[in-house]
Symmetry: C2
Subunit: 559 residues, 2 copies
């Protein structure tokens, strides 16, 4: 039975469209997946049942947690995995001419109907060594999936984690806006960043294409170029603005703004604080307000924030207020954001007091300009008045650590467990087709993740179980879980009769992520010296790993 | 006249297909480009002629040069720039409901037939502040191009530069293979990386999709999973191998390999050096050789390089040699690459000597495993025997610096020069529609780049010209150029009657890059403390910048 048809029958057609990026095809893989497929085929091994684990070895950004993301794209990829004739034709030219025709016929016939994918739910908090995906099926086909799966999960999980870390530092009350498209690593670096930053806890994006594809809320105002494209208010031709309730029309909004600017300048609170403001800027703000009287948000740092930007903004905002509109706020994009936000806030509060405009002091202040975890942290320590942060470069390129090292390792073939050895213990893979559980403690926090062999009895609530470090003999602990969650669920049943787990909509994934983060014990989450979360294996699996290890490793000879 | 039709008539249809990634549409931009477009439109300013410069402020990776890349994609983007009905429908929902219908009608009609793009040729060596692109046209349209242009150029130039730097350290004689797809930032992070690393001087890629799209040579062999998917040579069923010239068939290649392994083990040169080698590995190598007798390249570090991988490889290679095949070499993917490559080379040379197999000592050794500029440099200093490097993560994610800060600044509107001020002098933009030249010295090296106003007479060969630092009064020098190259060429004439510069094929761009790099004075190129290349303005432009600056900056008051 073709699982994608099955899925369609269940009314899940939407989620089984192809991947977001049409460039994600079966050719988006490393050449060696095809040379291996040929060698397997030639050796008659290509149908052997293999089990691969996809996992990472170290949490990114010096932290002790990772957000798992990218699963939906992987499932959409395999649901539509099929070679086109022109792709087969290209492969003939890419492989040695000695490759037999029958192999290409074989490739033409393959799909993922015999592949079974178990995975942790997207948006979950995850840890090193625990398989994010367990992929089972004919070895030649499963190998072809390695590169696209790792590609689709690596960056997705990395940037979702980065977003979650930024949210953690910024705090729950701040608005976080992803502004990274222009600095992202290529077009869908940008689109993926918008998607996965939203999952990681951002509120909105500037990326219109991502808004359309994923329904992410969009934000944006204007740039410095907009400000400097104006010369002076004299050039504004259409000066009329109808009041918010439609009852009156101000025929000369430009003059109304000018009169407010004069009032501010010569009022008791502001006398001598600023002189002539920049006229380009005043013209730009006035024009922008005429276009968006309900959404007037101005970038105030093109010339001088306190001597030009904030006074000009305030004059326009007060003129709008006369007509029943409420200005949306300012954006600061350079300079000392802590100082400028505090000074701007003082200015707005003084306006509220001087002219009795209720709420003016609460004007939203957005800050942007090369923000990252460290600058957010520094702003918090210094004190600031910023309500919303627009974050780009450092967020979307994951500047602090530009890659997550996900790997895809063979753990079993033909029911034979396999181990990958390495001189570096942290690189030894954990063999066997496994089950994974999260054990929760009395206070509701997750305590430890444990991997067991597939046929071991699952950990039980209120029953003591020994959790062992997979490689360090002396690290082990008894745990009495108050709750047990099986982590790997069947997201692609292949030819088995398992029920296929539904792919949730983006908002649900985001909610899961936020909920799981809030459930973690605080010491795992802190930025400085966080406590590592424990990842373990059952006693039985521990013994088996070390039996296999001794079996495979050559015995050295000291000379 | 529609320039894309014009172009088609000139037989350039290929290069004017859309961008490689079909997700690059007019919606792949920041929302504020649309809010600004509306505000321009509402103010009746949308058709005003604007000139924007796209440039960066600092060379990446602590170096003093950058490779310009991404131009072809930009031109393909604007050649096909047109909103679809469903995109307009989405924009209606994304913008405030107060936006007037006529604006969306206006959007529906726009394309880039009135936009003029001058650019430096792709693959050129470029420097900070010099415009890579100069884009002129109706301000509302040109602003919509900002985000996609910056996105398409930022990462392309960054990763091409990274590739060039890796090539510089590795030296001309080494084979450089890009292996980054799985660790790249999303699917077309991978595809773009393959394209632009090739431009920057890499020889091949593992990425099959990129091979198909761009004709980049492909490389790849097998993974550790391939090795551990085998148990022992006993499982090999099809054991026959026909000789290279077709004259004889070896009926039991497995036994031939085993007999060679015994010969090596008990020969004078190798007695006691290694014991029983890993049988999974031996089976995997033998099977791979049976599938690819002409292309036998083996990954030798799954168990133990010197005690298992290299002896097993050598046995298979010698068996192939008996049948007239020449093995391709080994790949090392862990451990001390300098030491292991040297030891492997010694082993191969000893085989050549012991068994009189000419050329066996010259076996190609490929190294991979988290390589970057620093590790290549360290390998060089230590001494090694590696012939080819497979480089992934650090190359394609530009781990050492994950973003290039390209910006897009308004420099003129309605023939009025504009300047963007900043408290940080390095962020002040250089106003005016400009021309840019590269001046070459007596020895053929580029000496300095100079920007002039559009209507200034160009620098002349053998004629003295004053080159001034744009912001530092005291930095200036007279130059007598031996050769003058105008940098900005017309790649998209818009409605002008200028000739459109042809977009060269990828190989030509790569050749340009390699040629330009070789032409640079060595002290600009060295890794440690390179000399900055000089970027200057004409005396006339200098005076004008500072006149404008004084005009725009508010006068402070000390209190």
């Amino acid at each position: 039975m073709d699982p994608s048809v099955n899925a369609n029958a269940n009314g899940l057609a939407r989620t089984l469209d192809g991947p977001t990026n049409p460039m994600v095809t079966p050719l988006l893989t490393d050449l060696y997946q095809f040379t291996m497929a040929y060698a397997y085929w030639k050796a008659g091994k290509h149908l052997e049942q293999a089990v691969f684990d996809l996992f990472f070895r170290k949490n990114p950004f010096g932290g002790e947690y990772t957000i798992f993301a990218g699963l939906e794209e992987c499932i959409q990829f395999i649901a539509n995995f099929k070679f086109k004739d022109e792709e087969i034709a290209f492969l003939r030219t890419a492989l040695p001419a000695t490759c037999e025709d029958d192999f290409f016929e074989y490739l033409r016939g393959i799909d993922c109907s015999d592949v079974e994918v178990h995975a942790i739910s997207e948006g979950s908090v995850v840890f090193p060594k625990i398989p994010l995906l367990r992929v089972q099926g004919p070895i030649a086909v499963v190998q072809l999936l390695e590169t696209p799966f790792v590609n689709l999960i690596n960056y997705a999980s990395l940037v979702a984690t980065n977003a979650a870390r930024h949210r953690f530092v910024a705090g729950k009350s701040k608005n976080l806006l992803e502004f990274g498209l222009r600095r992202a690593q290529g077009p869908d670096g940008g689109i993926s960043a918008s998607k996965y930053c939203y999952i990681g806890g951002f509120d909105a994006s500037s990326n219109v294409a991502a808004g359309r594809l994923f329904g992410i809320p969009l934000r944006g105002t204007h740039s410095h170029a907009f400000v400097s494209s104006f010369m002076s208010p004299d050039e504004i031709v259409e000066k009329a603005l109808c009041s918010s309730d439609g009852s009156v029309t101000c025929e000369d909004f430009v003059s109304l703004v000018q009169s407010w600017l004069n009032k501010i300048q010569w009022s008791n609170s502001f006398r001598g604080i600023f002189g002539e403001t920049n006229q380009s800027e005043l013209a730009a703000f006035t024009s922008y307000a005429l276009a968006f009287p309900n959404n007037f948000l101005a970038l105030v740092d093109t010339y001088d924030v306190m001597r030009s930007g904030v006074p000009n903004f305030s004059a326009v905002a007060l003129a709008l207020s006369d007509l029943g509109y409420k200005a949306a706020g300012i954006r600061l994009d350079s300079g000392d954001l802590a100082y400028l936000s505090i000074e701007s806030r003082k200015f707005f509060c003084a306006i509220e007091k001087e002219f009795s405009v209720t709420g003016f002091g609460k004007m939203t202040i957005t800050a942007s300009n090369d923000l990252n975890e460290e600058t957010l942290d520094a702003l918090n320590k210094q004190g600031h008045e910023v309500d919303a942060f627009g974050i780009g470069t450092y967020l979307v390129t994951c500047y602090a650590q530009a890659a997550l090292g996900c790997v895809f390792k063979l753990v079993e073939i033909n029911n034979q467990p396999r181990i990958k050895l390495s001189e570096d213990v942290s690189k030894v893979s954990i063999p066997c087709k496994k089950r994974c559980y999260r054990l929760f403690g009395r206070e509701g926090y997750p305590l430890v993740d444990i991997m067991t062999g597939e046929n071991e009895p699952p950990p039980k609530v209120a029953e003591r179980i020994l959790c062992r470090h997979p490689f360090n003999e002396s690290k082990r602990a008894y745990v009495v879980p108050q709750c047990v969650e099986e982590l790997l669920k069947c997201y692609w049943p292949g030819s088995s009769d398992k029920k296929r787990e539904e792919l949730p909509p983006l908002k649900k994934i985001r909610e899961r992520c936020i909920q799981q983060l809030s459930q973690m014990r605080p010491d795992h989450m802190r930025r400085l010296n966080p406590t590592p979360y424990k990842v373990s294996v059952s006693a039985k699996l521990y013994d088996f790993i070390h039996f296999l290890w001794l079996n495979e490793a050559p015995v050295g000879e000291l000379q």
